[in-house]
């Protein structure tokens, strides 16, 4: 039932504070330490993806993190208004698609349910579910 919403500027410096919030809420929600760490990494990845596409696109719309815990699961949604990620230019010699595929591998294996989809009104939405 309890919902926490956090909006950050779409800039990489703010992802750390999201990790603090998620760790704290996950611990308070009674998740085990490993589950707390896994969810923290997953949410951080989702935010990194959102922030990078926004930094690239130069948008100012916030990245929105929604935390929702109930008796049988924790769900975190990360939404942004950046451009679609695949089109982001690769920085230097680290190809962005290498990074994105590693990010997707992490998201996929660290939570019980994961989806990453365009939003009808622009940007992407990452949905993460941890079952208790």
């Amino acid at each position: 039932m309890p919902t926490v919403d956090l909006d950050i500027p779409p800039r990489s410096a703010y992802v750390a504070v999201v990790r603090l919030v998620v760790s704290s809420l996950a611990r308070s929600a009674g998740l085990q330490e490993t589950a707390v760490d896994d969810l923290k990494i997953a949410v951080s990845e989702a935010c990194a993806n959102a922030v990078m596409s926004n930094e690239e696109a130069g948008t100012q719309d916030p990245v929105s993190i929604a935390w929702h815990a109930d008796d049988d699961k924790v769900e975190v949604q990360v939404g942004d208004r950046g451009k679609i990620y695949g089109s982001v230019g690769a920085a230097a010699d680290e190809r962005a698609s290498d990074r994105l595929s590693m990010s997707m591998a992490l998201l996929d294996s660290l939570v019980d349910e994961f989806s990453y989809e365009p939003r009808p009104d622009g940007g992407m939405l990452t949905r993460l579910v941890v079952r208790r």
């Binding site: 410096a13 750390a16 990790r19 951080s44 990078m52 990074r99 590693m102 992490l106």
Partner: protein
């Protein structure tokens, strides 16, 4: 958020002791440091992750990029890591097959037989 980056020479190796969280914000600082090392002629690099509390895909991307760079000079890049939560990140992304991962800096800087 600060990322600690200390470089020391052990024999022919350049050891980078990293402290803090490697994420989308701090990873560029690590990338710069590793590019600087290679441009100064250090092709045998050890990245010590024992002081790292957090590592994400941007950090992995930087390590993979640095590996490519030292390999272009017939060098190598190995890691020091014993923390389960960090090793897990390398396992999930298949990078345990790409990087030599050692238990200690001593181990990582032993001369090849």
């Amino acid at each position: 958020m600060e990322l600690g980056l200390d470089v020391r020479k052990i024999g022919s190796y350049s050891v980078v002791d990293v402290k803090g969280e490697i994420d989308v914000y701090t990873a560029p600082k690590l990338r710069e440091k590793l590019i600087e090392l290679v441009s100064e002629g250090s092709y045998d690099v050890v990245v010590n992750l024992e002081g790292v509390d957090f590592l994400d895909s941007t950090g992995l991307g930087v390590l993979v990029g640095a590996l490519k760079r030292v390999k272009a000079h017939d060098g190598g890049l190995s890691l020091v890591c014993t923390q389960d939560k960090i090793l897990k990140i390398f396992k999930i992304t298949g990078l345990t097959k790409v990087f030599p991962i050692h238990d200690s800096v001593e181990d990582a800087t032993k001369d090849p037989e």
